[in-house]
């Protein structure tokens, strides 16, 4: 099998440099920040798809999350960007890394033809849809490229969360949902008492045998 690791990362570096150059040439310093964030976002997910090891994929996803947080901050949504870093990088990524323990220690099976075919097909589909959208949208009616003045701040977000005429219902519902989801997750994931002495001779696909063994232990 051909080792494509070096060509892939070489191409990724080229993509990164190209994004940075495009950013600088089109909008100077803010463009550089945008190019860096966008390259981090897309490069992270490309590595995630490419890498054979689940651990590397999970860590490359960190690049995606940090890049998206950078895009949020560039868009003036500092609070959302910080929440993104706290929740995604600090929480969800750590949670996903627990799932890595499920994967076998050897490298994951990955068919190059599938990866390449998927990327090419999806790229073609996105290009086609983008062309259609670009042809259909009346660009003159879209908001201008110059950003409007920002007057809202984090204070307004905090007020919005608790103001009765704004988002307080959604806020409380989200709180209830988080409680229910986390309790349910713990309940689903916890090992039943019967599982602590598993019957060694029963193959794990033998559901009926497993249930019988669980009843026997219970």
């Amino acid at each position: 099998m051909v080792d494509l690791q070096k060509p892939f990362y070489g191409g990724l570096t080229l993509f990164f440099v190209a994004m940075l150059g495009w950013g600088i040439s089109s909008a100077g310093a803010p463009g550089l920040a945008f190019g860096f964030s966008a390259a981090l976002t897309l490069g992270g997910s490309l590595v995630c798809i490419w890498e054979r090891s689940v651990v590397r994929s999970a860590f490359s996803l960190m690049g995606t999350f940090v890049g998206v947080a950078g895009l949020f901050i560039l868009l003036g949504a500092d609070f959302v960007g910080m929440a993104q870093i706290l929740i995604y990088v600090g929480g969800i990524l750590a949670l996903l890394l627990f799932g890595v323990m499920l994967s076998p220690p050897d490298m994951e099976e990955r068919k190059l033809s599938r990866v390449a075919g998927g990327l090419v097909l999806m790229g073609a589909a996105v290009a086609w849809v983008s062309a259609k959208v670009a042809a259909t949208v009346e660009w003159a009616q879209l908001p201008k490229d110059e950003l409007p003045e920002m007057t809202t701040s984090v204070h307004d977000i905090g007020v919005g969360f608790i103001a009765p005429d704004k988002y307080v219902v959604a806020f409380e519902l989200a709180a209830v949902l988080l409680t229910v989801a986390l309790v349910a997750a713990v309940y689903i994931a916890r090992r039943k008492m019967a599982d602590f002495e598993p019957a060694k001779d029963i193959p794990s696909k033998d559901i009926a045998g497993k249930e019988a063994a669980m009843k026997e232990i219970a």
Partner: protein, 100 residues
């Protein structure tokens, strides 16, 4: 940077998420792909909010999407743990209890 650049990044991220779900036959990559897709949606929310004047709606919605993603990741990981426990595999194609 204009609105179009942000939408292009969002579309590409969405496509990569779908590719991750479809190409890698592994439950964990399905979770990774879902996170990418949610992030792509969030970029759109915040970008349209920013370029459409000075409202809060898009940013608020992005925060709620992040909250939902956290809940989804916790529940999905619990389900994946149970599936692995029951079927001893992380490949969605091998979870075929209902197929006789």
């Amino acid at each position: 940077m204009g609105l179009g650049a942000y939408i292009a990044v969002s579309a590409a991220l969405f496509a990569l998420g779908v590719v991750a779900i479809v190409v890698r036959r592994n439950i964990l990559y399905v979770l990774f792909g879902i996170e990418m897709i949610l992030n792509a949606a969030n970029i759109n929310f915040v970008a349209f909010n920013r370029f459409n004047g000075d409202g809060l709606d898009g940013r608020m919605f992005a925060i709620f999407v992040i909250i939902l993603a956290a809940a989804e990741a916790a529940v999905a990981l619990a389900i994946v743990l149970n599936v692995y426990h029951l079927f001893n595999t992380t490949k969605p194609a091998e979870v075929d209890l209902l197929r006789e």
